[in-house]
Structure formats: C-alpha cells, structure tokens
Amino acid sequence: MKIRSDILRTYQSIHTWTGITTGLLLFIAFFAGALTMFKSPITQWAVPENHVLPAISPGQYDALVQQATAQFETASNGFTLHFAPHQSLMHHSPMTWYEQGGGRGLSIDNHLRQASFNEEGELVSVANQQNVLGDLIDQLHRTAGIPGKADHEDIGVLVLGVASALYFIALVSGVIFLLPTLVKSFFSLRQKKGANRFWLDTHNLIGITSLPFHLLIAWTVVVFAFHDMLYGGLSLIYGDEPMFERNGGSKQVYSVAELPPVERYFEAVRDMADGYDIVSLSFADLTTPRARLSIEVAGDGKLQRTAETDIIAMHPFTLDVTYSTLSIPENGAFGPLVKSFFALHFGNFANDTGRWIYFLLGMMGAILFYTGNLLWLEKRRQKQAKQSSSVTIMAKLTIGVCLGSVLGVATSILASKWLYLVGVDINPGYINVYYGVFIVSLGFAFWQGAAKSAIALQALIAATCLGVPLTTLIMWWTESEIQWQIASSTLMVDVFALIFAWVFYSLMKKTYHRAYYGGRESIWYVGQRDDAHQAASGHSEWVNK
C-alpha cells in the first residue's frame, strides 16, 4: 500500500513520542494485568491453610447465619456467604464479615472474621488480616504503582487514563506508518539481520496480531479512568432527563432472624438467570432501612460485568431486585452491549481458556512496550562508544522500571510465606517489599548503567522465581507452624514461577553475551572479557549492524 511520505513521517514522529512517553507505565500495567488473570490462584497460594475454615453443605448455611449472628455482634449488620465450588478457589470460608474495615475499594488493613461448622457441627471461627496479594497486583495493574489519591480516584488510574489515550494514538499511528511495508514483512522474524531488525519484527508482529485487543484495552482504560468526567459532560446533554433510575425499595426495618432461608435466594437466582452459579451473597446494613443484598453469580463462558462474576442486587428481606448486570429483557439491548466492553477487558468470557489467552496477550503487550523502548534506543544511539545522555537515561529507565517492577512482584510473592513465618503484617509487608525492591532496582540501574544492571536484574528475577517453588517445597517438607494449601491451582503458580525463572535465566545469558562479546557500539556493550576469544566463535547475531 502506498502512502504519501509526509504522512508517514508525521505519523512516525507521533508514534515515537506517544510510545516513548507511555511505554514504561504501560509495561507495568500489562505485566501486572496479565498476572491478575490468575489473582485468585495467586492469593490462594499465599493464604495459610488454617486461615480458611472447612466447607459446609448447602443446608447448613441457615443455621450458620443464625448461630454466628447470635454470637458475634459485628456479624449481625452485614456478612458474606461463600458457596462451593467457587469458595475454595476464592480462598474463602463459608461465612465472613469484617471486624475492622470493609466497604468499597482495596484496604490493606481489613480484619476478617470467618465462621463455619467443624465436623461435630459446632460453630468455629477465626479472625485474621485478610490477605490481599491478588488485589495488590490488581492495584499495581490499575495504577502502575503510582501512589496517592485525588478526590476518591487513584492518581495512578488517572495517569494511566492519559497514557491510554496516547497509547490509542500510538496504535493508530503505528498502523499507518507500518502499512506500506506490512504485506511484505508481516510474518517475517529476521533473526540474522541484527538485533535491531529482530526487535522491530517482534514489535510489529505482536502489535499487528493483537491490534484489536490493544485498541479495546486503550479505549476501556480511558473510560475506566474518566467515566465520572464523561458522565458529567453527558449530564449537560441530558438536561432535566434523569440519567440513572433510582430504585427506592422498602424502607422497613427488619431483624436478622427474619432473613429468608438461603434456598430462597437460590430459587430467585434460578428464576432470573439460568446457567449461573451463586458465588456469594453479601448482606449489608441489615439492621437499618437501607438493608442490601449483593449476589455474585458466575456463568460458564458468559460475558460478565466484573472481573469474574455478574451482580444481582436485591432487598434481602423482600427479594425485590433493584439492579442486575444480567443479559435479561429488563436491561434492554444496551445493558448487555456495555457489559461486553467490560468483559472484553477482563477476559472473563471463556473460563480458564480465556484467562490463558488474556494472560498471553497481556505478556505480549508488555513485550510490545519493552521492544518499543529498545527500538527507540537503537534508533537514537550514535555509532560510537559514547552515547548522548537522553539515550543512556532512557536505557537506564527502561531496565530499572521494567525489570524492577517484575523483580518487585516476584520478590513479594517469594517473601509471602516467609513473612507469615516471621510474623510480619502481611499486606504492608507486600507493599514494602515491592516498593523497596523497585526503588533499589531503579537506583541500581542508574548507578551501574543499563547493560550491567540488565544482567544483574535478570539474574535476580530468575533466582527469585526459582525461590517460589523451592519455598513451597521447603514449607511442605518441614514441620513449620503454618501450612499452606496445596491444590492444582496453587501448584500452577509454582510451575509458572519455574517457567519464568528459566525464561529470565536464558535472557540473562543472552544479555551477558551481548555485553561482553557483542558490538562495541551497542549501548548494551560493557567491555571485553579476558576470555574474549569466544567472541569470534559464533555469537555474531548479537552484533549490531
């Protein structure tokens, strides 16, 4: 396809600028986002076995509610019931409530009380700090680790919203200036033509093959970040027309003893939504006129509104439905349409197959941004040993930020079980470990330079990832006071840590070769080693042309 050269040049500049300003943020968001596809197994992996009480049969829930609310003042206002089979995957006991904290949003200091029956049918309960490892990874995904709040919105979310608008432009401009050569070099992955060409082919191949995914992500993130402002603008267009229905509902005050049996909720959900399982029932403000029940339902292979479920809100005593995200006639044609936008961001519509595909797309996205930065560096570097400061600073940032955040997450996961054993507050522990490792990695990259720190950080990531399954093994073998759940989903976490260890070890070896035996003009060149004769023996693919 022929396109005027001035258009190509214009869009090449746009692609460069939008890409280089957002690449690092988007790398973190995509890498962490890929992990959030498995945030339940990761959290399950981290929660000590004795923090989760045994499952009970469906018929026992009514007795559990009555006994627990009678015994615990804090439960009588609101609690959540978790049902099999989702309950064990979501690492919950049959009944939970907050003794401290709770409410909307992520809190690292929620104290959760959990209740169930033991084998003798007696009420048992434990209280502990709720482990939010998966939610913290989700937070990293949504904010790129930028802390702080403006009003009620995370600053990081707003920053990523702006970055996503630029990323949308980067996608459009990337496609435009790729069009002339697209047909010729689409599926070529030229490894022998120098590292630069290899990075470029990888970057283009990933960008084009996952373009619909990327356009969708860019769009949804802009909406997630700025929906309040967009609704604000829309309110001018709506004028006096109300934008949202208000459902009044009953204002009568009931007592917990008047709650209908749990079976009634199951019947109500069966009537509304065929093919859905109840994941949980969350009761709130039960003793006030604002009594609410929020039901999480999971559908096999259905487009769902939240990351893993759909929601039905009803009055807990009258069972009047006030709101639902189901694709039912009441929600019209637009409800399901809007829901599909959410579902396509969350990747929740094809069970585990879908999650794996989204995991891969997310990781490929991270590679897209990483290679984008490498290409920028290769293009700007001088054909000489001494480089301009913009190139060296960007190289250090790329290594420090990208590898630093990967190492931070890996270290937090590795530290998890040891933090429990030492008795550290678990959630603040995760946060301190992540930011500590991230900042030290960044500092290390600036101190030692991009080439050396890339080798060291990749080696550390490999070692840390290897430590994750080793920890599981050690804890399983030794008689420590805390034991952890071992299930196929938690073993998956260990297996994947092992795969990551191997990947980063291989990358580290390649980086090492390039640093010591590669082209002297490369920004990744460190110096000649004494055993330099190896340089002649076939590592020429890493020599930059």
């Binding site: 022929k2 005027r4 001035d6 258009i7 214009t10 869009y11 500049s13 746009i14 608008a165 949308f168 432009i169 459009v172 401009s173 860019a218 769009w219 802009v222 909406v223 700025f226 929906h227 967009l230 609704y231 603008g233 829309l234 267009i237 709506y238 027309e241 934008m243 949202f244 229905e245 009441e330 929600n331 019209g332 044609a333 637009f334 409800g335 349409l337 809007v338 936008f341």
Partner: protein, 99 residues
C-alpha cells in the same frame, strides 16, 4: 504520485493540531453522542443507554484526535473541526428545541 511542493506537504504544527483534536474533537464527540442519545435507537429513556452513550464518547474523540495530524496546517485543523462542531451542535440544538 506527483511530487508535492513544500507548502502542499503536511506541516508539523504539533501544538495547534493536538489542541484542536483534543478540545474540538471532544466537543464534537459530545454533540454526536448527544444526537444519538436523544434520537438514536431507543430514545433517551432506553434502559442502560446512558452507559453506552458514555462509552461512545472516547472512541469518537480519540479517532478524531488521532487523525487530526492529517490536516495540512494547524489552522486548517481548527477551522474544519470548528465547522464540524458548529454543524453537529446546531443539529443537536435544533432537534432538541424545535421538535
């Protein structure tokens, strides 16, 4: 393709084009979505349509912003997008207050 003279080629004018695309593109997107909201399928009261409308603003806006750099000059971007706004908003207001 004939060779273009320097004036015929796209001028950079980054700031004017970016601002025109960002601001006028957004106001245009609101007008288009406004017309859709009131007079598109289902009318203003269709259930959950307000959410769909909110979702549609950003893709219209971002596409206009992305292609604003195709204008030959920044001034042209401002003029064309202003005219588009004028037409879209006039249509919206006419429909809204004369029907």
């Amino acid at each position: 393709m004939a060779r273009l003279s320097a004036e015929e080629k796209i001028q950079p004018h980054w700031w004017t084009k970016s601002l025109a695309g960002a601001v006028l593109g957004l106001t245009f997107a609101f007008a288009v979505v406004g017309i859709f909201a009131w007079y598109g399928p289902g009318g203003i009261q269709a259930p959950n349509k307000v959410q769909f409308n909110m979702w549609m603003i950003s893709p219209v806006w971002l596409l206009i912003l992305s292609f604003s750099f195709l204008f030959r000059t920044g001034m042209r971007a401002v003029l064309v997008l202003s005219a588009a706004n004028l037409i879209a908003w006039a249509t919206f207001l006419l429909l809204r207050y004369s029907l």
